[in-house]
Symmetry: C2
Subunit: 430 residues, 2 copies
């Protein structure tokens, strides 16, 4: 057996402790699989005295993570600190500058600085590996970079945030509203005290930007992702979705279109018979459409110490096995810089829900607003109450341009009979 690979671990939160536990529990198995053992030679975290349930007495401790990144007795640096700026970024830059391989679980960092870091890694002849940054334990990065590498990918999408999927699944199961379910998720530890990164779609957008770069060989373009979260999804929409044969999921979806790329994160109506419709609770899924493989879906746990550690250590094993691939599958210099489509040019189908006064002519006015934008109605559902009372009108449309839909909704919102701003959810053909 050849020499041990010396690993420096920066950040001993949930994931860091998970990685150390895994390396200890499966050390023999892993050494067999990659032909050499790992040695955790250094760690860095804020509080040395905190009880983490691990014996770290034999491991060198760095108060300063950057010193760990430059330490000659570290071959690979694990960045498990988090955040797109500050120490995490400096740590990765320092490690790469010192020719050390970096494994990170930091989606924000890779989403914001991936292209630059890829260039730095290549210049230094080092690797930047980030399997754990997307979809937790699902080996989605490896599948895209290697397993599906023979394909031209036309579309990639997924359920990339377990908190949102848990909330939407629970809203559907229980019929309750977003706020109530969020509060429960926070109690159960499925949502953070400040949930906005998750429920506003930012976390999913980070992951989508990374997947997009890898799938299409484009520079990472987080700013190009259109992002909406799930705060506006109501129990009513979920019930109508059921009735119409859909599930509402927060999807991250990218596709190539007219020589550009469309990147978007928002609630979607997905057909019940699409495999991703039955991915429930905290589970994540990643789906790729390739020109030869057709559609491949991967499903698993998208977060948590164990699954994330599984992905981090898979990257370590790749390094130990001598697998040396460019960060985004092709050399950084060859990454394209395709612009992301503006959302008003998006083409798709729509679900709209209106609250109007039930009186003669209202449906005609709504229909006229859609007709004026050349929007074709696929289905309409009206639950009649007594004339003169408020009533829901639910409409699904055929494919149209988003700009047209927005103008039509503005017109409808101005009708005297409209009691609430119209609600819109995109329908995704999967």
């Amino acid at each position: 057996m050849t020499q041990a690979i010396r690993v420096g671990v920066a950040g001993l939160g949930n994931v860091g402790v998970g990685v150390l536990s895994l390396l200890e529990a499966n050390s023999e198995l892993i050494a067999q699989r990659c032909g050499r053992p790992f040695l955790v030679s250094a760690v860095s975290a804020r509080d040395r005295r905190k009880d983490r349930g691990l014996d770290l007495s034999a491991v060198r401790w760095f108060e300063d993570a950057l010193a760990l990144a430059a330490d000659p007795e570290v071959d690979v640096v694990l960045e498990l600190i988090g955040g797109s700026e500050g120490v995490a970024k400096q740590l990765v830059e320092t490690a790469l500058a010192n020719g050390k391989h970096v494994v990170t679980a930091n989606k924000a960092l890779v989403a914001h600085h991936g292209t630059d870091l890829a260039r730095r890694a290549e210049a230094a002849g080092a690797l930047l590996a980030y399997e754990a940054a997307v979809a937790g334990g699902i080996p989605a990065i490896k599948a895209l970079r290697e397993g599906l590498a023979a394909n031209r990918i036309s579309r990639i999408y997924g359920i990339l945030n377990g908190t949102c999927n848990y909330i939407l699944s629970t809203m559907r199961d229980s019929g309750r509203e977003f706020g109530e379910v969020l509060a429960e998720a926070q109690k159960l530890g499925y949502a953070e005290a400040d949930p906005s990164f998750d429920v506003d779609g930012v976390d999913a957008a980070h992951k989508l930007a990374i997947l997009t770069a890898l799938a299409f060989g484009n520079e990472v373009d987080f700013a190009g992702v259109h992002v909406e979260g799930i705060r506006q999804v109501s129990a009513l929409d979920i019930a109508y979705a059921d009735e119409l044969g859909y599930r509402i999921k927060l999807l991250g979806l990218s596709r190539t279109i007219n020589g550009g790329i469309e990147q978007r994160v928002h609630p979607c109506m997905v057909p019940l018979d699409a495999p991703i419709a039955s991915v429930e609770g905290v589970f994540n899924a990643v789906v790729a459409d390739g020109d030869f493989v057709d559609t491949v879906m991967m499903e698993g746990r998208g977060a948590g110490a164990g699954p994330t550690a599984s992905a981090v250590v898979a990257d370590l094993i790749d390094i130990a096995r001598g697998i040396r691939l460019p960060t985004f599958a092709v050399p950084a210099a060859n990454l394209k810089s395709l612009a992301s489509l503006q959302m008003n040019h998006h083409k798709g189908s729509y679900y709209i829900r209106l609250m109007v006064v039930d009186r003669p002519g209202v449906i005609a006015d709504i229909a006229a607003a859609l007709r004026d934008e050349e929007i074709s109605v696929e289905a309409m559902l009206q639950r009649g109450r007594a004339p003169g009372e408020a009533v829901h009108v639910v409409i699904t449309t055929h494919e149209t341009e988003e700009a047209r839909m927005i103008r039509a909704l503005a017109q409808i919102g101005k009708l005297d009979a409209a009691l609430e701003p119209p609600r819109m959810i995109r329908v995704e053909a999967l």
Copy 2:
């Protein structure tokens, strides 16, 4: 860009033509992704004059596949002939003996001779890659060998035969019987004229033996797989499964148990809420349970020219990228030789269906036969008709040993009231 990798393709059936089409369609993309282009330098197939829709005029043609495997202008040999013995086996052995890497889609060959071929590959310093042999386009081999390599795998299972899954899905959708649906599948090209490899579970068992070796670091032990097909599954069982909250799927499943391994292919009742229950039609799925990652499922097309070509070329790309891993993830000398459990020692739950005369004492006799083997009933369902007539009794049990179940069924079969041999389907907790 460095020198082209010269590929020799042996076998120009459906898959061979798919591979050549893919290499042509995506040549530029692939060259970018692996830093060097592929050149198809030689082909071998039986009939040179057959129109395959490809221009092969510039490619050297070998009447003799073994000569192709020894040709100095071939770096990698694609074995796309099929069959566990004969030319395919000799071809792979010849190629390896000549130090050439081999990519194969041949599940029978790897299932029967995998350990020996792995040794030959290692001795020659060559690779034996077989992503396409299991689950078509799903990158399941790569996921197990690399993506989940940090985990101790406790169980692996899957829907490994699209023909069987198509037949079972269609039987359920239409209420029709096996024979009728098989005949239709043959007409549609989803089943072979001689369907036994598929419907008797042999094809799934080949794939399971390969997955098992990889997941558990064991020698490939096809002979150790317990194999049953789907011919005995009736429309009635499928209807009862629905009623009891199950789907009937042909699963291949391996798990470590009491220091050994259990490998089995047979129809299973799987709970409706298990993700694999909703994998329908010709789709395949592979699920792995790991100690840190928990459960990961992959779903996609398990057969067809495009998906298989995607997997074959993924292996080629790995080779071009310099990824060099042992055939079954650990050196062949380190593969364990754990015995496979005999099926009579299997422990699990069971669904049994009996056809009996509806008269006093029958249920008591059945219950006594189960009690005598200490088998505990979970649920019982009897559709009463008129006394004295034939009636179905359906029972699900708690976990018991298979030997006990077989003895109990023999006892029940001997009852005067029993009109048919009892039917049994294993219930799988997933």
